[in-house]
């Protein structure tokens, strides 16, 4: 950083206190322009490298990204006859095709609908129908879901993509056939589709024959135009599409750039893209920000098992790792990673869910580089706050990014007193337009331009924020608030604990009581009493888990967030069943 930390913090504090918003300068008028400019700047450098678990790889240069995504745009507009604003559902794991279809959709002036490849057929149907997608781009690994999905949706065209598309021919051939005939993970496809490679070729032919300039497709685009429908709410209930405009996403790119400027060297970085690009965190961090910074993104399709990442770390000089707590924790538990941490690593960015202090400290100790925490939501493109890489604070989500105002509200919607915890509300250029065709849902979270996040936070000194917890995860023990994050953070420091989740479970006397679920490292044994004894050293009595359960794994979302709700539901179900048995027994007696 060129500026000193104290200057920066004091000026930011002023921003928040006076609530004058600094205007954010957008790097381009729309995302298609951002892509074209970036590709023109870095031309023959590597933009994306997809790495398979055995080390086989394929590269795309910035120039190739420009040309091939133009072909996608022409295929969509000329080949399929789509119009600006039409929705394209892209359901791909991290692979060379993903950036082409995402950028191509934007270059066609269409709206990108990111879809999780692991979705079940009913989930796909819901999202396709809700968004009104006309085209579905899907990876061949899940082609078996197509007949059921197409029967119930209005999708007109299906493009079937292989993970190995655009790999060197022989390597792609070998890798594809190993997957098909040895691993047998590619099901046969029984519906009419266009292959990803055919679609590109068709786009190229049409561009030549009709002499089209794809730039004409984006003539009407501006910062307020809808760019993507990013579905969210999988952990809270029915899935809704957050409407993110070109301006929202561009602003977030500029906001990240402002915060990390000085530590990211344009055109010289290598960023690991192991979080799925269809998720807003990797979408903005890897696909938009690091791409824009001229970095080489290393795409890994599946981090399961984590040894899949070994070749990526060995073969490429990875300098940045955007990740989530479970990824950092998991890597620290891998011996190959601990023994030989990536030598070129500069920093890591944690988001998605709370970063445990124990994990952050060990990451610093093992890699010699910081993992800085940020905070964001799908509805805010996503970054709201981020720690500066110099002068970062462990346990804090950092300071609001430029042009962003944050307020902490009490249950009535009024700002809380200083030093008090309240619901975090955000205003800024990255806040979504609203939920797609859901005005009532929109008014629940967007009030007078403020986005209500449902997260409880508190101001630390110097304009740093700390998230205490999700509003709905709060545990109420005899009227006392217990924040699961605090208890989890404490238990995670206990040696031998691999993972931990804390939830509130119903209790007849206290209303709720604290229950901890632990996953231990192999070969470790701990008793419930040892866990409680450890907690007693740093937590007040009512925060100590009354129950401790040891498990072999915890339920998680596709990006590795622990699903506390699933644990709570299972617990309620168990209590319900037990009381049913008790009633049955009673009537018999």
């Amino acid at each position: 950083m060129t500026r000193s930390v104290s200057d920066e913090t004091s000026s930011r504090q002023l921003d928040a206190q006076t609530e004058t918003s600094t205007p954010v300068r957008l790097p381009a008028q729309h995302l298609a322009e951002l892509v074209s400019q970036t590709c023109a700047r870095y031309t023959r450098q590597h933009a994306f490298t997809a790495v398979l678990p055995n080390g086989m790889f394929g590269n795309l240069s910035f120039t190739q990204v420009a040309e091939l995504s133009d072909q996608v745009a022409v295929y969509l507009r000329e080949g399929l006859g789509l119009a600006a604003g039409d929705r394209i559902a892209v359901q791909l794991p991290n692979s060379l095709s993903y950036p082409l279809w995402a950028f191509g959709t934007l270059k066609a002036g269409c709206v990108l609908v990111n879809m999780n490849p692991l979705y079940t057929a009913p989930e796909m149907v819901h999202q396709l129908n809700d968004s009104g997608a006309r085209v579905l781009v899907i990876v061949d690994l899940f082609a078996d879901k197509l007949p059921a999905v197409l029967a119930q949706s209005k999708v007109e065209h299906v493009v079937l993509v292989r993970i190995t598309d655009l790999f060197p021919a022989l390597i792609g051939f070998i890798a594809y056939n190993v997957m098909k005939y040895w691993n047998r993970i590619i099901p046969p496809c029984s519906v009419a589709v266009t292959s990803g490679i055919e679609a590109l070729a068709r786009g190229a032919t049409l561009m030549r024959e009709r002499n089209v300039d794809p730039a004409t497709y984006t003539a009407g685009l501006g910062p307020s135009t809808l760019a993507a429908l990013q579905y969210t709410g999988g952990t809270t209930g029915v899935s809704k599409g957050a409407m993110l405009s070109h301006g929202n996403l561009l602003a977030n790119v500029a906001q990240i750039e402002d915060r990390v400027a000085g530590s990211v060297q344009h055109g010289k970085e290598t960023a690991l893209a192991v979080l799925p690009l269809y998720h807003i965190f990797a979408f903005t961090a890897n696909l938009l920000y690091f791409f824009h910074a001229g970095a080489r993104n290393i795409l890994v399709a599946s981090p399961r098992p984590l040894s899949n990442l070994q070749r990526a770390f060995e073969n490429y000089p990875i300098s940045w790792v955007p990740g989530v707590n479970t990824l950092f924790n998991g890597l620290l538990n891998e011996e190959w990673f601990r023994d030989y941490p990536p030598p070129q690593l500069k920093g890591s960015i944690a988001g998605g869910t709370a970063l445990h202090t124990a994990v952050a400290e060990r990451w610093q100790e093992v890699t010699g580089t910081p993992v800085v925490e940020g905070y964001g939501l799908t509805e805010s493109s996503p970054v709201v706050t981020l720690n500066p890489s110099a002068g970062y604070r462990t346990g804090s989500i950092g300071q609001p990014v430029i042009g962003t105002q944050v307020r902490l509200l009490d249950p009535l919607g009024d700002p809380v007193g200083s030093g008090e915890a309240g619901e975090l509300a955000v205003q800024g250029p990255q806040v979504m337009l609203g939920y797609w065709q859901q005005p009532t849902e929109t008014t629940k979270v967007l009030r007078d331009g403020w986005l209500l996040t449902g997260d409880i936070a508190v101001w630390d000194s110097d304009n740093f924020l700390r998230v205490v917890d999700r509003k709905k995860d709060l545990i109420l023990v005899s009227g006392f608030n217990v924040y699961p994050n605090e208890v989890e953070d404490c238990i995670a420091k206990l040696p031998g604990v691999s993972e931990v989740a804390v939830v509130g479970i119903p209790d007849s006397r206290a209303g709720e009581q604290v229950k901890a679920y632990l996953v231990l490292k192999p070969g470790v044994s701990l008793s419930a009493e040892q866990v409680r004894e450890h907690c007693r050293q740093s937590l007040t009595t009512y925060k100590i888990p009354r129950q401790v359960e040891f498990r072999s794994e915890l339920p998680k979302t596709n990006v590795g967030k622990v699903l506390r709700r699933a644990l709570r539901d299972a617990e309620k179900q168990r209590i319900h069943e037990e009381s049913a048995v008790a009633v049955e027994g009673g009537s018999r007696g």
Binding site: R311, D339, E553
Partner: protein, 295 residues
């Protein structure tokens, strides 16, 4: 007893497979192996401490004739064979550790092998056993040069490396199966005449090696993956080196008798290693599966 074709196949097998093995390795794998010297030391101790002893005890308890006893002690005193690297690779073990151990025990063979044979073998035979420098060195070269080439290729182009690795694996399996298929029918008569004591000795030496190597390294808290690697390294001896030593030190009918157990061992070790490898592979995959749930 071992034909020219078989010897050629063996050399070819080792060369092609080690090229593939090398293509799966980087320098940091070796640095990691040497970060925990206790693994290499325990491997060394079980290789030259335990194995010759168990060879001697088997020879005495089974009351083997002197020529066969010498053959057993000879194979027990051998350094690790490069086949151990192949089985370690297939079992998803620590390949760099395996290669390091093979290299280390082979270099030590100049001193340790004659020493072990002197200690345990003098009861059965008085003549001197010499370990041919040439055969040891050429064995190492055949093993290490392809590894280095493989590593170099992977560094230059990971795609070519991955293809070599895959081909090495496939060819390795094919050649191992071909060797068994060639050897067994041709020696069926001989196998039928052999007494059960000889079978127990030839099979037992490898099996005890696997067992002891695993228990010793597991007790030393080296973890399951390294325990499996050291186990394979201990049980799998350098058979071809034993054959060349016999041919160098003896001649006539006595040589044929001495070489019998090393040959029988070499045949059966492939079979029991395959079984043990399947077991270890499942174990190592389960260890990997644990990390699946992390994300």
């Amino acid at each position: 007893m071992v034909s020219q074709t078989e010897q050629l196949l063996l050399a070819l097998m080792i060369g092609v497979i080690m090229l593939g093995m090398g293509a799966s390795l980087t320098w940091r794998d070796f640095r990691r192996a040497f970060k925990r010297p206790q693994a290499i030391l325990i491997g060394f101790a079980s290789q030259y401490g335990f194995m010759p002893l168990i060879g001697f005890l088997l020879a005495v308890t089974l009351n083997l004739p002197p020529a066969l006893a010498i053959g057993l002690i000879l194979i027990a005193s051998m350094p690790g064979g490069s086949t151990s690297n192949i089985f370690t690779y297939f079992s998803k073990g620590d390949l760099a550790l395996s290669v390091s151990m093979t290299t280390f025990s082979t270099l030590a063979a100049f001193v340790m092998t004659p020493l072990a044979i002197f200690i345990y073998g003098s009861r059965f035979i008085t003549s001197e056993i010499s370990v041919g420098m040439g055969s040891v060195i050429s064995g190492l070269v055949v093993m290490l040069i392809p590894v280095l080439i493989g590593m170099f290729i992977r560094r230059r182009n990971a795609n070519v490396g991955a293809v070599l690795e895959m081909m090495g694996g496939i060819l390795g399996v094919v050649i191992i199966l071909a060797l068994i298929a060639l050897w067994v029918p041709r020696n069926a008569g001989l196998l039928a005449e052999t007494s059960w004591q000889v079978y127990v000795a030839a099979i037992g030496i490898g099996a005890f090696g696997f067992l002891f190597g695993f228990i010793a390294s597991f007790s030393a808290r080296l973890g399951l993956r390294r325990a499996a690697t050291i186990s394979l390294e201990t049980g799998i001896q350098n058979g071809p080196l034993a054959l060349s030593i016999v041919l160098l030190s003896f001649s006539g009918p006595i040589a044929d008798q001495i070489v019998f157990i090393p040959v029988l061992y070499s045949l059966f070790i492939v079979i029991i290693s395959s079984i043990v490898t399947i077991f270890y592979r499942r174990m190592n995959e389960r260890l990997e599966q644990r990390s699946v749930t992390l994300l």
